[in-house]
């Protein structure tokens, strides 16, 4: 019984355990089934997603390919060997091939001109290294024509094989390339032209200046030839016009120099007060007969020399002063300089030039500093000028680190204000405020004179006299050099020509009198070509001590020198009876001296006229005679010989005159002796070149005599 119960319990336990296990297994099976189902769904959706993605990808690939193709971009794919794998329609159209013709061919050998092979090689190795690149080459179309293409190349990778080739996007840039080439050519041409133009301008300026200086020089010489009042007027016009032209050329050259950055500023000590006083004094002299005065207002603190560029400051100030003079009918011009800022090593000076002139309309104020601009055409007609002055002034100021401003009211006047920095100097300006005509009386030997004279013949004349009298002297060939030399050394007397280029005698004398230099009180003798009272007045106002009218005789000059250098005893060496010996002129030995002296005596003007007439007319007249001779027109030969004969006599060629008389007679006497006429003709013909040379040379000498006043 117990055994049975035990067995029953066991069986019951086993049964329950089995059911329990079945239930667990059932649950596990269900779990498994569900998991499996879930997995399947997941797989399906994954596959679907992959399919969708793939479709999207190829659609977008097609889309971009389509876009690129539509953008005139030609696509071509090559493999790693450079063999064409695919050529897209736009590319085919670009090169004129069908795709079938291209696939399988080597791209380089189809399209590439030999000279671009290195470019492609470099690109190929970049592609193999995985680098993309953009490059420009020429390719050949099917018809042999070349086009320029911009190629963007990029490597193509395959999932299995890796680098399989590359794709190139081609853009036709032939038009742009040609345009670029044309532009480069045009640019080169323009640059060449500009260079040539600059060269031309520089050359022309030089070429123009050379003859212009000759014109100016000659006009200055002509003042010394005792011109009549009328001739002087013509000379004034000639000189003024030539000077205007030279100023214009100088302005243009200055401007182009400034613009090319070729103008260098100098840094040297100078007397700024003296410079300004000289400018104002010169202006006073010019304004003498006008109801217009000029005043100077200088900051009393300006006690020392300043360091800067005196030439540029001079150019700026004289430009502005000239401008004020030009545009002011009456009233006053004020030139002022005031210290604006004082620093340790430099200071800034503000300069003001104001006038009571016509003024500038507000709307035109911004134009006045522009090159070649004047307020209006009317101004140009009325006042002249190049329109460059203020442009140069502005640039010269800015070049030195300064600024210029202008204020103006129409009908009231104009004020230009500019600032310039200067270095400080420790040297004081010597306080000689005004020149007083107290002449130094000189004592002792070894005193020296300065001769400022631009005329070579005059220099020779004065020089030979001074040498003869045993007086040491220096020579300056123009006013600017004269002023420079006057700053270097004390002279006992200065002999100063009036009409000179660069700086005339008045300006030079004013500069010497107004600035700090050893010769502020040295006697200065004006050598004027004019004896007019007004000229003498002007000379005294400029600061000359005395004047001497040209032409002067040696003793006249000696008296003047003696007057101002009294105690020097030159008397011993002076031969008062022989004033002219040193410069005595003798005709060429070929010429008849007696006849010429009889004809002209000391009347060099008459002699010069005759010699000139001979030189001017003889070649033409003799030419007519030569023509008649060759035509054997003896009557005409006789007539011309008669006509030409006296001219030869007038230049002292008495022998030729006689031959011509014989020729005339032989040509007129019937029957004509041909041989004799020929002999006489040839005698003159052979001598003529020599004669022309001799007469020419003597004419030069006579002219020189004329200048000297002998």
């Amino acid at each position: 019984m117990t055994e049975l119960n035990l067995l029953k319990r066991r069986i019951e336990r086993e049964r329950l355990a089995r059911k329990q296990a079945e239930a667990i297994l059932e649950a596990k099976a269900l779990e498994l089934y569900n998991a499996n189902m879930e997995l399947r769904t997941l797989n399906e959706s994954l596959e679907q997603k992959v399919a969708e993605r793939t479709e999207q990808l190829s659609a977008s690939e097609e889309k971009y390919r389509g876009i690129i193709e539509n953008m005139e971009l030609g696509l071509m794919e090559v493999n790693t060997e450079g063999v064409i794998v695919r050529a897209y329609p736009r590319f085919c159209k670009m090169v004129g091939y069908q795709e079938e013709e291209l696939v399988g061919l080597n791209a380089a050998s189809v399209f590439l001109p030999a000279e671009f092979l290195p470019v492609l090689k470099r690109q190929d190795s970049d592609r193999a290294a995985g680098k993309a690149g953009v490059y420009e080459i020429q390719i050949m179309k099917k018809n042999g024509e070349r086009i320029w293409v911009l190629i963007s190349g990029t490597p193509i990778y395959d999932a299995e094989e890796g680098f399989v080739g590359s794709i190139g996007i081609h853009y036709d840039i032939t038009y742009q390339k040609n345009l670029q080439r044309d532009l480069e050519e045009a640019k080169n041409r323009a640059e060449e032209a500009e260079h040539a133009q600059k060269q031309f301008l520089a050359n022309m300026s030089h070429e123009i200046r050379t003859p212009l200086n000759a014109i100016l020089g000659m006009s200055h010489l002509l003042y010394d030839t005792q011109p009549t009042k009328e001739q002087r007027e013509y000379l004034d016009i000639l000189k003024n016009s030539a000077e205007m032209l030279r100023n214009l050329i100088s302005d243009v050259l200055d401007l182009s120099k400034i613009r090319a950055g070729k103008l260098e500023t100098q840094q040297k000590e100078f007397d700024i007060k003296g410079l300004m006083r000289s400018l104002v004094k010169s202006s006073q002299l010019r304004l003498e007969d006008r109801p217009l005065s000029i005043e100077l207002d200088i900051d009393p603190r300006l006690e020392n020399l300043v360091v800067g560029d005196d030439l540029l400051l001079n150019q700026i100030l004289s430009n502005l002063i000239n401008n004020a003079e030009k545009f002011t009918e009456k009233g006053r011009i004020t030139v002022a300089a005031h210290i604006k800022a004082l620093r340790k090593t430099q200071f800034v000076i503000a300069f003001t030039i104001s006038d009571t002139g016509i003024g500038i309309p507000k709307e035109k104020l911004n134009l006045i500093f522009q090159a070649f601009r004047q307020v209006d055409g009317d101004i140009k007609r009325k006042f002249g000028g190049t329109g460059l002055g203020l442009a140069i002034v502005k640039q010269l100021i800015e070049l030195q680190g300064g600024k210029i401003k202008v204020k103006s009211r129409v009908g009231k006047g104009t004020t230009f204000t500019f600032t310039l920095p200067f270095g400080l100097s420790n040297r004081k300006i010597e306080q000689i405020e005004t020149y007083t005509p107290q002449y130094q009386r000189l004592n002792g030997q070894g005193k020296k004179l300065l001769v400022v004279e631009d005329n070579y013949m005059n220099r020779k004349y004065i020089g030979s006299l001074l040498e003869k009298w045993g007086m040491p002297f220096d020579i300056a060939v123009d006013g600017r050099k004269g002023f420079d030399m006057a700053q270097q050394e004390l002279y006992d007397m200065i002999l100063m020509d009036i009409q000179m280029p660069e700086m005339d005698g008045y300006e030079t004398t004013i500069a010497i009198r107004q600035s700090n230099n050893p010769n502020q009180n040295t006697p200065i003798l004006a050598l004027t070509a004019s004896a007019l009272i007004s000229q003498k007045d002007k000379a005294f106002k400029a600061g000359f001590s005395d004047y001497l009218s040209k032409p002067f005789r040696p003793n006249q000059l000696f008296e003047k020198i003696e007057k101002y250098c009294k105690s020097i005893s030159y008397e011993e060496v002076v031969d008062n009876d022989d004033h002219t010996e040193g410069v005595k002129f003798a005709y060429h030995e070929r010429l008849n001296h007696e006849l010429l002296t009889e004809l002209y005596g000391d009347d060099w003007g008459y002699a010069a006229d005759m010699f000139e007439t001979f030189l001017t007319h003889t070649p033409a007249e003799w030419g007519q005679l030569v023509a008649a001779f060759h035509a054997k027109n003896w009557q005409e030969v006789g007539r011309l010989a008669h006509k030409i004969k006296p001219t030869f006599g007038m230049v002292g060629l008495s022998d030729i005159e006689k031959i011509l008389l014989t020729l005339e007679q032989n040509a007129k006497n019937q029957p004509v002796d041909d041989a004799r006429v020929t002999q006489l003709f040839e005698a003159v013909e052979q001598e003529l070149p020599l004669i022309m040379t001799i007469v020419g040379a003597d004419f030069e000498k006579i002219s020189a005599q004329l200048v000297m006043g002998h």
């Binding site: 066991r10 355990a17 296990a21 667990i24």
Partner: protein, 180 residues
């Protein structure tokens, strides 16, 4: 506790003492399962403790010894069922060292609810392995049985020493010294 521990235990009891003893220890225990076990089920841990203690009372064999014997037996059950996992493992130490980081990891994949002890291993020299057992189940003796059986399986001989690191038997040092 996995059902296989109960079914294999009861089978062992039946083989050695007859079903009468099995019925007896079930009847004397308070079992929520009613003493019905299937190897794939999961049952409260307290039930095996009651069953082992009742067996000890009934047979007068200490619990410690019973667990050790059961461990020895259980290793063979595992070899029978999961023997193919052991093929790649060359010796006993290698198997013991792979418990924590390989065998238990795989067990958890199969039975996410399994509650497993932790083992730290350290080779003291070529023939000595030290293992530290940690479990709230306090069944280090069962582990010692398993280890002894494992040595036998690989044809190795040696001594297994047990040393409680805490009084309650939750942390136990087991030192295995193989004979050369």
């Amino acid at each position: 506790m996995k059902g296989i521990v109960f079914t294999e235990f009861l089978d062992l009891v039946e083989d050695n003492f007859g079903y009468k003893v099995v019925d007896d220890i079930i009847a004397n225990s308070q079992l929520s399962s009613g003493g019905v076990y299937t190897s794939i089920g999961t049952y409260p841990h307290g039930e095996i403790v009651q069953l082992v203690m009742n067996l000890s009372r009934r047979t007068q064999i200490p619990v410690q010894q019973l667990l050790q014997i059961y461990g020895k037996h259980f290793f063979n059950v595992l070899v029978k069922q999961y023997g193919h996992f052991l093929k790649a493992v060359p010796d006993a130490f290698s198997l013991l060292e792979s418990i924590e980081h390989y065998i238990h990891v795989e067990v958890r994949k199969l039975y996410p609810d399994a509650e497993l002890p932790h083992f730290e291993t350290k080779r003291l020299d070529a023939l000595t392995l030290e293992m530290v057992y940690r479990s709230e189940r306090k069944m280090a003796d069962f582990a010692v049985g398993l280890i002894e059986s494992c040595l036998l399986h690989y044809g190795e001989t040696g001594v297994v020493e047990k040393n409680n690191l805490t009084d309650d038997g939750t942390v136990v040092q087991i030192r295995i010294k193989k004979s050369a």
